[in-house]
Structure formats: C-alpha cells, structure tokens
Symmetry: C2
Subunit: 588 residues, 2 copies
C-alpha cells in the first residue's frame, strides 16, 4: 500500500506567508482563522487521511462498488470510515455555521481537499458532490428549502449529487431530454434518464439529495429552457424526517478504469417529485455557479494524487539499488540507490516543482475565490470573480493533465513493479485518469477559457492578469532577478499568444479552437511560474528564519524555471500555425 504523509509544512508555509491578498484579509469572518487554528485543523486532517482514509483506496479498487438487487453497496470499510468521518465533522468544514458548518475559508478547505484526494479519490467523491449540491442550494434556494435540507447535508447524514449528463448530452447540455411537468401544488414530476452520476446511489447516507437539470413542459429548446430541480431519493416529510421513496431507480453502475470505489450511476427518474430551485429556465447558470467551484476541486484532485505519487516514487528511489551512478567509483560492481542517477533525480524534481507550484497557485486562487464570494465591495468582488473564472479551467485541466504525467513518471521509477497491482502506484494513475474527463473534458475547459474567459462583459480579464504579473516582476532584487527575467520572457510569449488568440477569436474561430489546449497550457505554466516567484520573494526575504526550508524552495523553483517553463515554446510555435490545413483535411 502506498505511504502518505500530508505535506503540512508546505501548507502552513503558504497559509502563514502567502496570505498576502489585501482584499482577502479584509474579509471579517476569516480574521479569526489564525495560523495556529489552521495548524490544529490540518494536523487532525492529516491523521484522519493518513490513518482512516488511505487504506480505503486499495479496498475500493479490489472490491468495487456493486449494484445488488437494486441496492448500491460501497466497498468494505467505507461505511465505518464514513461514519467516523462525519462524526468528526469533516463534511462541514467549509459550510455556513448557520446550517451547522465550521465556516472555514477555501484557503483551508482546499488543503483538506488535497489530502483527501491523496488518500482516496473514490471515497472523497461521496462527500465532494454533497458539497457541490450544498453550494448550489445555499446560493440559489429559498430559506425554506435551505432550512429543510442543508443541516443534514452539512452534517453528512444526507449526501448530494449533480445530475446533468444524459446519453445524448454531456458537453452539450442543450440537447437534454429529461422532462419536468408542473403539478397543481407547485412541485414537478421529473422523468428521464441521467448517466455518469457520481455517488448517484449508495449505502452511506440516509438520504440522497439530487440536483437535476430538466426541461419544463413549456420551456424552449436548447440551453435556454433548462431549469434546476431538487429531487430527493426519499421524500422529506414536514417534520424533516425521511419519508417515502421517490420515483428514482438505479439502472446500473459503470465498470470503470479507476475510482472503482465510487458509484457512477445510471439513474432513472420516473415521475419523481422535484422542487424547482431558483428561477425557471435559469438552471444552467445556477448549476454552473457550482460547477465552476467544483472544477477547481478537480484540479486539486490532480494535485493530491500527484503528491502521493511523488512521495512513493521518492521513497522507492531511496530504497532501490540498481546500476552505478556516474560518480560511483566502486570497482566491485556495487549498485547505487537509483536516486543517485541524474535522470531519476530529474524526474523527481520535475514532480516536486510542479506540485509545489500548483499548490501555491491554488492557494492564491482560494483567496481570490473567497474575495469573489465574501468581500463587501462589489467591484472588488467582481474583479476577483473574473480572476477565478479565468483560472478555473486552467487549474482544472493543467493540474489533472500533469497528474497523469506525474503518476506515469512515478510508475516509471518503479519499473516493472510499477505495472503490478501490489505497489498501488498504477492505481493512482488509473484513479487520476478520470480527472481530465469529468466536470467537462480538458478540451472543453480550454475552449471555455479561450472563448469565454479571456475577455468578458467586465473587460479584458487576461490583460489584467498579465498586467498584474508584470507589475510584480521585481528586476531590482539581485537574487530574484534571474527568475524574474526568465518569467518575463515567457510572460511576453503569453502576451503575443494572447494577441494572436484575440484576433483569431474574432476572425478565425477554428484557429482559436485548434490552439486552445496549447494556450491553456501556456497560461498555466506561466501562472505556476508566477506563483513560484511569489514563493521565492518570501524565501529570500525570510531566508534566515528557516534556511533549510527556503533553500529547498529556491532549488525546486530553479528546476521549474529551467526545465518546466520552457515547455511554453513548443506549444506556442505549433499553435500559431493555424487550422486551415486541419479543417481542410478529409477524414475517410
């Protein structure tokens, strides 16, 4: 079984030293969330993830969730672990105290999300979708609904889902067919089939609160006729207790490459009773309020799985002896630890420099998210929201893709052992492989970024982001200068690429479309580089207080700037060759 030690030192470093967003620090309710408090929380979080959750990963992979006689049974140990998990209050970490939550900001809960992703993504999904549904209800529902459903969801007694996909519509939700027929009492009868519903059914909670998008009888075709409904597995009675079973059945569960402990369900709604959430025909935008936050969490999943893959391959490289390194002077054939080999070191530092850069970027994004949700000044709120919108597809796609690179590189370090099930490394690779797909494939994210997030009704968001990075480049600090100079070069390249992209969005959409994945990566690599620069600033300034830690940071950053950031070059060169030859091609 893989080992896992939550990276508390790095997390607390970020929380203490990089909580430097003025707007974030103006949010009253988080002023009491001191580093000491966060330290206590994260230490407890580390314990539960390392001890209770981590063993569930292998258990779930070996004994996948099954559908037996209409009942979805989770893997051995899940029920007991879930009970302990909610008893200790982990589902409520980031929720509103009004409904029983602990009110922690995303700057804290994102660390918990990362740890839980490291320990067991399949288990995590049972709680993650509840939070997604919680957020959506919290934002859009009436007080009556909130009071009725949220406390049990916050407590974890009830779980939640997001029911979007249907057989003919995944990316393109305008095609959806699920119908909602209004009843005289104002409720709706929901009928249709939803597929790929994560945690759609299971035996961990007393009730499951489905958020379903469907089309009311008198709504128009396409995306403008979609409304959002709350459809509980069991009807909740007036006194808040669980009543009769609603008209929802589980048609089947998917057999998947990974996250086998997670139930991915086909749900059949047959005149199930539903309650409309928010205004009619606005379902998609309501759902996407929540989806966007969820997409950041998918990026964090990639980060978490990368972290555990790194830790294990490092540990293996420090145990396995094979071959002589270039500096081995032994004449008797003695082998070195493989960590002495330059290529293995390079591979490990590649992982580390990406992971820590991602974590820093994510911490910045968590602060922006909180500002976008909680700041008093509408303008500041909007600006933060635009930054969050810009970086959401980047974090979702890049972190999940790099999670594939990192888990794959970790397998390579294990050699043949990495391909066997015994080590648990190949499972990380299979589990992570869903992250570039779900919540919108990475290509869909890239297209969303290019066509909807660079420039929006509030202005030229990407220009603001680039301007912010540029204004932070301190070329007078001698120690930072080599890093800042290199970053400047790539910011310039991003700038050129952005100008090219803006022109193509207007005049040659296919060029923009074909270049969108490359653009997302370029923006992402530069954004991580910028996050590293902020880490470096602190590292040099605070150097004498924690020399070993900061020296490690500086060297790791050096790797990122030397060996990861240059990936920008090839993406840019190939992307700007356009798409005419691609669109003209005749596939047989």
């Amino acid at each position: 079984m893989p080992i896992y030690n939550a990276p508390l030192e790095d997390m607390l470093f970020l929380y203490e030293k990089l909580r430097d967003n003025k707007n974030y620090n103006e949010i009253d309710k988080y002023k009491e969330v001191t580093t000491d408090l966060v330290k206590n929380i994260l230490e407890e979080a580390a314990k539960i993830n390392q001890n209770l959750i981590l063993p569930l990963a292998k258990a779930g992979d070996e004994n996948p969730t099954v559908l037996e006689n209409g009942i979805v049974r989770t893997p051995p140990g899940y029920k007991e672990a879930y009970k302990k998990f909610i008893e200790d209050g982990w589902t409520s970490l980031s929720c509103d105290p009004k409904y029983g939550g602990q009110g922690m900001p995303r700057t804290v809960s994102a660390f918990f999300d990362e740890m839980l992703s490291s320990a067991s993504l399949a288990f995590k999904l049972y709680t993650e979708l509840t939070l997604g549904a919680y957020n959506c209800i919290h934002h859009h529902a009436t007080d009556e609904i909130k009071n009725k459903y949220l406390p049990n969801m916050v407590e974890g007694k009830w779980s939640g889902t997001m029911c979007l996909t249907e057989p003919v519509c995944g990316t393109d939700l305008g095609l959806l067919k699920t119908k909602a027929v209004e009843q005289p009492d104002g409720t709706f009868k929901i009928t249709g089939q939803k597929i790929f519903i994560t945690s759609g059914d299971h035996d961990l909670t007393e009730n499951i609160i489905h958020l379903v998008i469907a089309r009311a009888s008198d709504s128009p075709k396409g995306t403008k006729g979609i409304s959002l409904f709350l459809v509980p597995k069991f009807i909740v009675k007036g006194d808040g207790t669980v009543g009769a079973r609603n008209g929802i059945s589980t048609g089947s569960i998917e057999t998947k490459m990974g996250i086998k402990g997670s139930a991915t369900c086909v749900l059949n709604f047959d005149e199930a009773t539903g309650f409309m959430i928010g205004p009619k025909n606005k379902g998609l935008s309501q759902m996407f309020t929540m989806m966007n936050l969820e997409r950041i969490v998918v990026g964090i999943q990639g980060l978490g799985i990368s972290e555990i893959a790194y830790q294990n391959s490092l540990s293996y490289a420090q145990e396995r002896k094979q071959g002589k390194s270039n500096n081995n002077k032994s004449q008797n054939g003695n082998a070195d630890l493989i960590i002495e080999h330059a290529d293995i070191r390079k591979s490990l530092l590649n992982m580390k420099s990406i992971i820590e850069g991602e974590r820093a970027l994510c911490f910045w994004l968590s602060q922006q998210t909180e500002v976008s949700l909680n700041h008093n000044d509408q303008k500041i709120k909007q600006e933060a929201s635009d930054m969050v919108s810009l970086m959401t597809p980047v974090v979702k796609s890049l972190f999940s893709d790099l999670g594939m690179e990192i888990t794959s590189d970790a397998m390579q370090i294990y050699g043949g052992y990495g391909y066997t099930k015994d080590q648990g490394i190949e499972q990380l690779y299979r589990d992570n492989r869903i992250t570039p797909i779900y919540e919108g494939t990475n290509s869909v994210q890239a297209i969303d970024l290019v066509f909807r997030k660079l420039v929006n009704k509030n202005g030229d968001i990407i220009a603001k982001y680039i301007e912010m990075m540029k204004s932070d480049l301190d070329l007078n600090n001698e120690k930072l200068k080599p890093f800042a100079e290199k970053l400047k070069t790539y910011i310039e390249k991003l700038n050129l690429f952005t100008d090219w992209m803006k022109e193509k969005i207007q005049n040659s959409k296919d060029d923009a479309n074909a270049a969108s994945n490359d653009y997302l990566r370029v923006l992402g690599y530069v954004a991580i580089g910028y996050s590293w620069l902020k880490v470096l600033e602190v590292s040099y300034k605070d150097y004498s207080n924690n020399k070993d830690f900061y020296e490690d940071k500086i060297q790791t950053a050096n790797f990122y700037f030397n060996r990861v950031l240059p990936r920008v070059e090839s993406h840019y060169i190939s992307a700007i060759t356009g798409s005419k030859y691609i669109m003209d091609y005749k596939f047989n």
Copy 2:
C-alpha cells in the same frame, strides 16, 4: 468491442514504393518477395487478426490468466485461437526455412507484428517471446541444439521465454544471483528465482524453452560472469519427444494493470537441467543480440496499439454529435458531429501523423535490420548494424511513449464513455502502459542511446545518420522545399544538441544523463520527420497515379511538420540547462 481494420493500403504503399534501400535490394533471398506475394500474406494476416485475435483482447482483460494448483491457465478462447494461429503458420513467418520457417524478411513480419499488437498485445506475447528465443538460439547455439529445438518452436508447438530479471536486478543484470553448476556430463544445474517472465508458464504449448542467464560457479562477479543457458520446461529426449518435467516451478503470476491475458511469472529454478548456449561468460551479449531486435518489436507494439486507438476514436468522432462547430449556422440547437470541431480534428490528425510517420520509419529500420543480418559485404553489414543500434532505443521508447499519448487522446475523444470498460478504449491505454517499461525502461533506453549508440568503436554513428539526412534534403524541389526547409532547421537543432551531448559525455556525465530522455525525443521526432520526407518525395513524384492517397499523405505530413516537429524546441532548451542544480539538490 473496438473495431480494427488492418491498414493494408499504407503497408503496401511502403512495401512497394519505399523499398528503396540499395543494400536491402541486393539481398538475394528476398528478391522473390514481390509486392503481390506480400499483398496476399498481409490480406490473410488482416483476416486472422481482425476476426480471430481481436476478440481475445476483451476476453483476456475480463478473464485474466490464472495460476491454479501450479498450472497457468490462459483466458477462454486463447487455446483454440493459438491452435488455429500455428496451424496457419503465423509463428513461422520470419523464421529460417531450414527449420520450417517461411523466411519472410522483417519488412513483412514487422507489419504482422503491428497488426497482432493492434488486435491483442496480451495474446501476441505468447508468440513474440518464442521468436525472441528462436533468434537467440538460431544465432548462438550449436547445430545439435538448433536441430533439436528450433523446428518445434518455429511450428509453435513449443514456445520460448527470456529469463533475465530477478528480484534485485532488472536494469542492472550484473547483480544477478541465479547459479549454474556444471555437471560431469557437461550440462548445468540451474538454481535461482526469475521474475517478470513473460509467458513463463501457460497451457498453450507442449513445452516451453527458457533462455536463462545465470552465473557459473567459477565465473566472476558482475556482468562479465554471466552465461546463457537453455532450460526446457520438459526435458527433450534423444528422439525429440517431450520427457520428464525439469526442475522449474511457477511461484506466482503477477496481477497487472493491463495485458491481463499474458502470464507474467515468477519462476523458481531448483537444480533445473540447462545447456550452455555459446561461450561461457558471454551470456549477456548473446542475450542482447536478441533483446535489441525485441526492443524494436516493443516500439511496433506501441505503433499497433496507437493505430487501433486512432481508428476507434475516429469512428466515434464520426458518430457522436455534441455542440455546434464554428461553422454551424443552425439556429435550432442542432449539434454537429464532434469531428467537425477543430480541436477534435487536431487531436485525430496528431495521432495519424505520428502513426504513419512511425510506420515509415519502422519500415526503413526493417530494411536496415535485414541488411545488418544478411548482406554479403561485411562493411555494409556493419554500417547497417550501427544504424539499427542507433535507432533501436529511439523506436522502442518514442513509439511506446507516443502510444500512451495516443491512447490517452483517444480516451479523451470518447469523454466519459472512454473511462468505462464497455468501449475497450481504456484497455488499450492500460495494455500499452507496459511498453515504456519492459525490455528496459524508456529512461534506460535513452541512457543507452546517449552513452553507447551515438559513437561506438566503428565511429561516429550519429554523425553519419545526420549526414545522411542532410544529403537527402532536396531544397530544389519546389513542392518539397517547405518541408525540407523546416526539417533542416530541426536537423540543425539536433546537430547542436548532439555536439553539446558529446562534450558532456566526456566532461559532465550527469548533464548527459539528465538530458538523455530529451535527446532521444529530439532524435526521434527528427527521424520521423525525415521518414515523412521520404514519403513526400514519392507522394509528389507518383501523385497522378493515386491522387487521393497522396493528397492525404501530403496533408498528414503537413500536420506533422507544423504541430509535432516543433516539440523539439522545448526539449532542447530545457535539456541544455545542465544538471548541477539537479545533482546538488538534497532530497529529504
């Protein structure tokens, strides 16, 4: 279940139009292998792979090979298919007619290897290792041994293995512990444990001929004390029939991420009777004669799996409707086939341009291999052998890595469906994932390339290769010119990188080591580009005879030169940053 149609047109195009190696065409025994004969063979090969072998892929994945009471049982259908496979003579395709083979050159058998890899890699491995063992015995054993063992191996009644790896030694065979004690009759008693033995035991053949490396009692430590032994599962009697069971037992079989139909065995040798092959203490170099040919086949596996992944994702993209393309003028929400989307087209062309370029490179390499084995002129033979040595690690690593990229991209085109087991796409990804690991991990290949293949005792091989490419760059042909110009740029970059590498091999081995994977990729991308250039030459010259086919080639090549070849840039820039900061880093 995935579809598969063998790419006969492309294969026959290569065989007919690119069999242009003068030295190859001087090999007498292949002069009768006409295009018509090859066409007949490949058509039959297509049938057996499409109809008989393809269904075994899913069967083997769902019902992995098992070890029951000491007996290894292959998946349902394997036995029947294997019987038909050998009856039709497919194991003998490339073997020496003297032992019952059909004597086909690698220019033909490589196509068969590709098809079989597309249809079922797990099944293929039962026959592939037999060929590996056949080649080794054919090269190194006495006539007595050859006569005794080869006919049944060629016929497929007996299979073969290569037993190298032990628990403490994979890459580093000098550490091996298996012992060989000489007996008065000149045979040896072999004792030790071998792991990761592909087809080490199974129920498909009457006997299994193991080729085992071990250390004789009086041999020195390290790689200079390794000898090669033939150790049959059942002792073969004087009359050639199968006798008593030898001292070999199957300890266990591995549970793996993919190729689950293939038996990966732990074999325990307990005073098993073995026969020394070739001179004492030269076992490693004998084994590597064969390993090198085997490594090319691993590259071909990556190519074959890429081909079937491409075919299926193309087919899905031509069926699945989702979203409007940029050119869709429909106002009623109608969706387009996803193949209308620029990003999807780009992804498919990326696959196609890599696959066809790889196939052309591989065809060139097959010709070189035949020259290296069969030409009458020793000097020509040696020169071809050096080219094969140079390109072997490139083909093994690059094709297997790009197989991961392509199977992954194919999954992305399927979206959520790609992650489920139903479509068989995720299986391609899992099956291919062994190819960057076995027969020497891709990093080991890269280090082998850099430290042993660029320059050897025969001279500066890489310089000859670069010179050959340069001399073929026809910048006077107006149509070829844009391609040739672009290739020239990247050949220059390869040249610079090579000079840098040669200097580092002398003066800073860690720099060379850390840059070796990047170097391998740069050489590989340029070599594929060069292969495309040869295809383009024919395409323009012969254009009027097959306009549609050649137009397709030109457009596909255009994609390669615009969007794949520029990957060279980032590899080069990051690699030449050296390794000091990598070696200095202190891992905790």
